[in-house]
């Protein structure tokens, strides 16, 4: 897979430097080392991401990154065509992998319209470079009383959030507990590959059912006793669990690390995102002539995980609480510009 350029690797190295216990980690390991299962370079086109869930497609004006990761994303493509007013002729039945019709309709419309329609349907997508000028969005707010004690409670899944929790655990020596809904288990924790083991071995595990009011109350109890809480996703995912980061931070002085594609408060706060499309939005791509290529594997995830952990460790060392609103796109944009991200 295309590696990060030397300059960008150095940025990631500097991001890791100077935190206790992180010395043995290298950017090379985090960004490309723990090769994930199912990533077969021979099976993908130059336009596909390493996991083959995301593709770079040229619209009439600019390039678009679109992520069809889940069955619902493929099922949404006919409605995207309808919304854009693109008649693809008699496509019946719609192919289950909907890549070919998606490519066809992207080629016929401008990038902003295509991305707007995909986002309306809940599909993660971005115009390449649209967030390139975004500032660092690792920002402490709602600073509370002196730092709380307790475990690192990780409600996130997949890559960026669990990485942040892992790094915070290494730096502080705190116990890390995974907290997951029985109806939405973390595939990465269940994965038997090297990365899943590295992230999750040695952690505690608390399961709850997010459809039970009693269980949600227990969940809020667990979160209320945490020194650090790690969550990921959009605001409405927190609200549906009855979680209020600002309230907890002011009540207990916890550090709450929230990771999302575009931050909790930006105009794109409701847009879905994953590591490859967020990196593309940030302009963190390699250009081959006038064509972009994804770099590394879901690269905004490890960059954001490291940046979030670093900002959290800074707060913990200062014995301060706070909400860190970390966006994958903002961190990736900063990395593309060669900037170090911290809690500041």
């Amino acid at each position: 897979m295309p590696l990060l350029s030397q300059r960008r690797t150095e940025v990631a190295e500097r991001q890791l430097a100077g935190v206790s216990g992180w010395g043995e980690l290298t950017a090379g390991f985090l960004l490309t080392g723990p090769e994930r299962p199912g990533l077969d370079p021979a099976r993908r086109s130059p336009y596909q991401s390493a996991n083959q869930h995301c593709e770079l497609i040229r619209a009439t004006d600019e390039w678009v990154a679109a992520q069809l990761a889940r069955p619902v994303d493929h099922q949404a493509v006919p409605a995207v065509a309808g919304l854009l007013g693109v008649d693809l002729g008699a496509v019946d039945p719609w192919p289950a992998p909907a890549w070919e019709p998606l490519r066809e309709l992207v080629r016929r419309r401008d990038a902003a319209a295509v991305v707007g329609a995909l986002r309306t349907l809940g599909v993660a997508a971005a115009v390449v470079g649209e967030a390139a000028e975004w500032p660092h969005v690792v920002r402490a707010s709602g600073v509370g009383p002196a730092g709380a004690s307790g475990p690192v409670v990780d409600l996130s899944a997949l890559w960026a959030g669990p990485l942040a929790a892992k790094l915070i655990g290494i730096a502080t020596g705190a116990e890390v507990v995974d907290v997951e809904s029985t109806r939405r288990l973390d595939p990465m924790r269940l994965d038997s590959g090297q990365l899943g083991h590295w992230l999750h071995d040695g952690r505690g595990l608390e399961l709850f059912d997010h459809r039970s009011a009693e269980e949600l109350q227990r969940l809020r109890g667990i979160v209320g006793r945490a020194a650090v809480v790690v969550t990921a996703g959009r605001r409405r995912a927190l609200s549906s669990l009855g979680l209020d980061p600002e309230a907890l931070v002011s009540a207990t002085g916890a550090v709450w690390v929230h990771l999302s594609g575009y931050g909790l408060r930006s105009p794109l706060a409701d847009a879905a995102a994953f590591g490859d499309d967020a990196a593309a939005a940030a302009g963190l791509v390699d250009w081959v002539g006038d064509e972009p290529r994804f770099v590394a594997d879901a690269v905004a995830d490890p960059l954001a995980g490291v940046a979030a952990a670093r900002a959290a460790v800074e707060l913990i060392e200062e014995k301060r609480g706070g909400l860190l609103d970390v966006s994958l796109a903002g961190v990736a944009a900063a990395a593309a510009r060669g900037e170090i991200v911290s809690g500041g």
Binding site: G38, R70, L84, L158, A160
Partner: protein, 102 residues
């Protein structure tokens, strides 16, 4: 009034703020209501209140389906009314499972 719907069509409640987009629809004509009142093709102020039994509300980002799984509506703006097709209340489709990787 019964009509046919195609994917990508937006529907707007006449009884609340709910807006939805058609993800899938049957070939046959159906009656889509939100809050018990027929939907319209453009946004506007509510004309009536949600009817009893159709006032359970709609949540942003949720996908709603019928028992036969022939129609699917995605909520793009929340409201107090619930969607129904030919009088049958739609139910929330299970949350999309996480992909195997990010």
């Amino acid at each position: 009034m019964a009509q046919t719907y195609t994917p990508g069509t937006r529907v707007f409640s006449t009884a609340c703020t709910t807006e939805m987009i058609v993800v899938r629809a049957p070939e046959e004509a159906v009656v889509v209501t939100i809050g018990g009142a027929p939907v319209r093709a453009a946004a506007g102020d509510p004309e009536v209140s949600p009817a009893d039994g159709y006032d359970g509300g709609s949540l942003l980002g949720k996908r709603y389906v019928n028992q036969a799984d022939t129609i699917e509506l995605l909520c793009t703006r929340a409201g107090d009314g619930a969607a129904a097709v030919d009088g049958e209340l739609l139910v929330v489709k299970d949350a999309a499972p996480l992909p195997a990787s990010d």
